[in-house]
């Protein structure tokens, strides 16, 4: 009797595991895409990419008429899942491609970011460069002057778009900078306020409270036009850095390589309509996210230009990260 119970428990357990692992139906022959659930992989846990994916998913579901399931699979594993998936449109990803490309310059990765099918950009993060008040640096000219005399410490969080921005800007101005690594954007703000780093480049809203409190001084808004929240802060045009404008945190939608054109177009249309809807624009504004999507060939042209710029400055970027 005891032996039977033991086997029963074991069999029930195995059945439970098998049913869980076997979950997730795979669409069979697709007459017209989509006919089944679409999985959206986010290779970042927490943060803006996951937030964006969760905001977009319900609208996308309405456009596509099928469930859109979000799977958070952090890091290289997440990017690789998208890369290795069948190019049938049922597995796509949302991520920050600039930071990931920078990492790929440092280390050989199992996937080639240039081979992904690039659908478009949901938005690109605007950021502000701000110095801690204890540095005494209040303008771009101050930064250039001091940066030529001594090494300025910039708060970074891994190999991100912000790091690429800081390094390329420093190269262009001929100033010396060195990274100070923090776990995330909020930690970089604290680091700058505390004086662990001299400046940081993070999303505008992350710095706003500290700017208002006088703890940090913004010297550059990384936008092509003046930042509405900081009208007196120079933008890229005034700083003569317009050519670096495309280097931003592009939160893109990507799909496995060699996806058929009709599926690519269907996904692009669905995202364009979802992100462009009034409801979505309102949500993005309410959650203090940028509304600057870019789709199709315009987007691919911009990203290709960013990749080319980063390739050109590969040695500088690699040296800066070390």
């Amino acid at each position: 009797m005891q032996g039977r119970y033991r086997w029963l428990v074991l069999m029930l357990g195995l059945l439970l595991i098998a049913s869980t692992l076997g979950c997730g139906s795979v669409p069979t022959a697709a007459a017209k895409y989509p006919t089944g659930p679409v999985t959206m992989i986010v290779p970042y846990k927490g943060g803006t990419n996951e937030k964006l994916a969760r905001l977009v998913a319900p609208e996308l579901q309405k456009q596509m008429g099928v469930p859109v399931v979000i799977e958070v699979i952090p890091g290289a594993d997440g990017w690789n899942r998208v890369f290795q998936a069948k190019p049938d449109g049922y597995t796509i990803g949302v991520g920050d491609i600039v930071g990931e490309y920078g990492l790929a310059l440092m280390q050989k990765m199992p996937y080639d970011l240039r081979q992904f099918t690039l659908i478009g950009r949901i938005n690109a993060g605007t950021s502000v460069l701000a110095f801690g008040s204890q540095t005494g640096i209040k303008t771009l000219d101050d930064m250039k002057r001091v940066g030529k005399e001594k090494t300025l410490r910039y708060a970074s969080f891994g190999f991100s778009a912000a790091m690429v921005q800081a390094v390329l800007m420093a190269e262009k101005f001929g100033i010396k900078i060195a990274p100070v690594s923090f776990p995330g954007p909020a930690d970089t703000v604290l680091g700058v306020v505390r004086g662990d780093a001299d400046f940081g480049l993070v999303g505008t809203w992350l710095f706003m409270d500290q700017i208002t409190a006088g703890k940090v001084t913004p010297v550059l808004a990384w936008t092509d036009v003046p930042e509405p929240a900081l009208p007196n802060v120079p933008d890229l045009k005034k700083a003569a850095l317009l050519d670096l404008g495309p280097v931003q945190s592009h939160r893109i939608v990507m799909a496995p390589p060699k996806m058929p054109a009709d599926v690519t177009n269907a996904i692009t249309k669905a995202f364009r309509d979802a992100v462009g809807s009034e409801a979505m624009k309102k949500q993005l504004t309410d959650t203090k996210l940028e509304t600057n999507p870019l789709w199709g060939d315009d987007f691919r042209k911009e990203i290709t230009a960013v990749f080319a710029m980063m390739d050109k400055h590969k040695d500088t970027l690699v040296k800066a990260a070390k």
């Binding site: 927490g46 969760r54 690594s181 309410d286 959650t287």
Partner: protein, 517 residues
């Protein structure tokens, strides 16, 4: 004076809001879910929060906060049950609870120990709430005092404290911690986290070993494997099971539990000290509960008149650890409110929930979103009250858990652990990892090495390295940063003192054989 009046005004507003139907229902849901997820080894409060996160999008932020607060506040209570009853901490912050809780359960005092733990949790949460409300306006100078160098020393102090707190051979404990640190180096690391280490070309290892998988494997699965082996040996050798004593009827055990709830009041110093340490450590961003419990445990050991009982069923050890577990939750709210820096992984998800609703954390968060902040603060305390009530009601049942046959427990634990591991990132390698850690942990236990040491070494090793590199980068390579602030010097002195105490303890112990891992 105006600041105090504003605070009282906000508190009254928060209390009014807490008594609304939606808030109470949200709290009840969160508490129930949090208790269950904390109770079942392998599931964690973070898993519950991740599952709930998409739902909060459709709720108003206040209700969402009460659900989250319920989960966070109750998980420690649920985790204490399996920590005490099965020596399988339900959450990583309940690890120290098992050091003395489980020996008490083996002595037939499971119900009593659970009563002690429940009441201590509530007292710890109450302390944390009072400190949180009192300290919020004053928190910024404290936050500013702890930079990367200070956090590095906190980790070192935590590591040393933990080695001291662990029962068993000092050298073996140190080796276990060192192994945990080595495991933490797998994946991207180095000064800007761009160097892959020990990945052997594997994509899976590029992101390092997953924390949840390592914790479940070492703390939970290893115990299940050991128990299975013991049961199997008893069957083969035809020897009686050495099950914990089952004392009394259900009603008597329930009364035992209620008697246990009065015990913490006889140790006010231990409760206050454990709670203070928990709140303080919780308030330092990036340090977390796994350090707080060992600091508190070690502090209780250092001043106890009966130190020889620690690790063998000391009620002071149990109270100190459990007080820190719940007090630290209030502490973690401080950097979360002040700077949007999560005090631990649970707060990271709270932040994610706020951001989904467009709420930006920062120094004006309490002013601009007081209702949401109070929902979290009061919800944490309310969850502890509800969880304690739930625990009291379930005492006769949960006190029976140590007597369930080991093979039944092991089967259930194995299933839940595998499900939890797969749910991390839907990767079968994570399942393989927890089984590997489980087997390795079982072997380590057999040879007297502390698997708690491995786990805490793994958690703290990563953080320690990150803060070390950040400190050196901040000082542009100068090591003087590690001794340049009064806080760092104080922490170094504390570490040296604890090392001295640990050496003396090791000398004392080397005269008496240790037989518990």
């Amino acid at each position: 004076m105006k600041g105090v009046l504003d605070l009282l005004d906000a508190l009254v507003g928060g209390l009014n809001q807490a008594l609304s139907v939606n808030s109470l229902l949200g709290l009840l849901l969160g508490t129930t879910v949090g208790y269950i997820f904390g109770f079942i080894p392998g599931l964690q409060s973070v898993t519950a929060l991740v599952l709930m996160l998409p739902f909060t999008f459709g709720w108003d932020p206040i209700t969402g906060m009460y659900v989250f607060a319920g989960i966070i506040g109750a998980a420690g209570n649920g985790g204490a049950v399996t920590s005490i009853a099965l020596n399988m901490p339900g959450t990583v912050v309940n690890v120290a609870t098992s050091l003395d809780g489980y020996p008490l359960a083996r002595q037939g005092k499971a119900s009593w120990a659970l009563g002690v733990a429940s009441c201590t949790s509530l007292l710890g949460a109450a302390f944390g709430l009072v400190v949180l409300v009192a300290v919020i306006p004053l928190f910024m100078p404290f936050l500013m005092a702890f930079g990367p160098a200070e956090r590095f020393w906190i980790m070192v102090l935590g590591m040393v404290s933990m080695v001291v707190a662990l029962p068993g051979d000092f050298i073996k404990s140190t080796i276990a911690v060192a192994l945990g640190i080595v495991m933490a180096t797998v994946g991207f690391g180095g000064p800007s986290m761009v160097y892959p280490r020990f990945t052997f070309g594997s994509i899976y290892l590029l992101n390092g070993l997953d924390l949840v998988a390592v914790v479940i494997g070492f703390l939970v699965l290893s115990e299940a494997f050991v128990n299975l082996a013991k049961y199997r040996r008893a069957m083969v050798m035809n020897t009686p099971r050495h099950a914990p004593l089952l004392v009394g009827t259900a009603l008597e055990r329930w009364k035992d539990g209620l008697a246990g709830m009065r015990v913490p009041f006889r140790y006010p110093g231990v409760v206050l000290r454990g709670s203070a340490i928990g709140t303080l450590i919780g308030a330092i961003p990036g340090v977390g509960g796994s350090v707080a419990q060992f600091f508190a445990y070690n502090a209780a050991y250092a001043v106890s008149k009966r130190p020889e009982e620690f690790g063998h069923g000391s009620v002071e050890g149990l109270i100190a650890a459990q007080a820190a577990v719940d007090a630290k939750e209030a502490g973690t709210c401080l950097p979360t409110f002040a700077f949007g820096i999560p005090g631990n992984s649970e707060m990271a998800l709270v932040l994610a929930a706020w951001e989904l609703h467009g709420l930006q954390p920062g120094i004006y968060f309490l002013r601009d979103h007081a209702d949401v902040a109070w929902a979290l603060i009061l919800g944490l305390f309310g969850a502890n009250i509800l969880a304690t009530l739930l625990q009291v009601l379930c005492l006769p049942v949960v006190s029976y858990i140590p007597h369930i046959r080991e093979d039944y427990v092991a089967a259930a634990v194995l299933v839940f652990s595998i499900l939890a591991a797969y749910s991390i990132r839907q990767n079968l390698w994570d399942v393989g990892l927890i089984v590997f850690c489980g087997v390795l942990g079982a072997l380590f236990k057999g040879y007297g090495y502390s698997i708690i040491g491995i786990v805490v070494g793994f958690i703290l090793g990563d953080l320690m390295e990150a803060n070390f590199h950040t400190s050196l980068q901040s000082s542009l390579g100068s090591y003087s940063i590690f001794v340049s602030s009064p806080v760092s010097v104080f922490l170094i002195a504390g570490t040296a003192l604890i090392l001295l105490l640990s050496l003396m303890r090791w000398i004392r112990r080397s005269r008496v054989p240790a037989n518990r891992a």
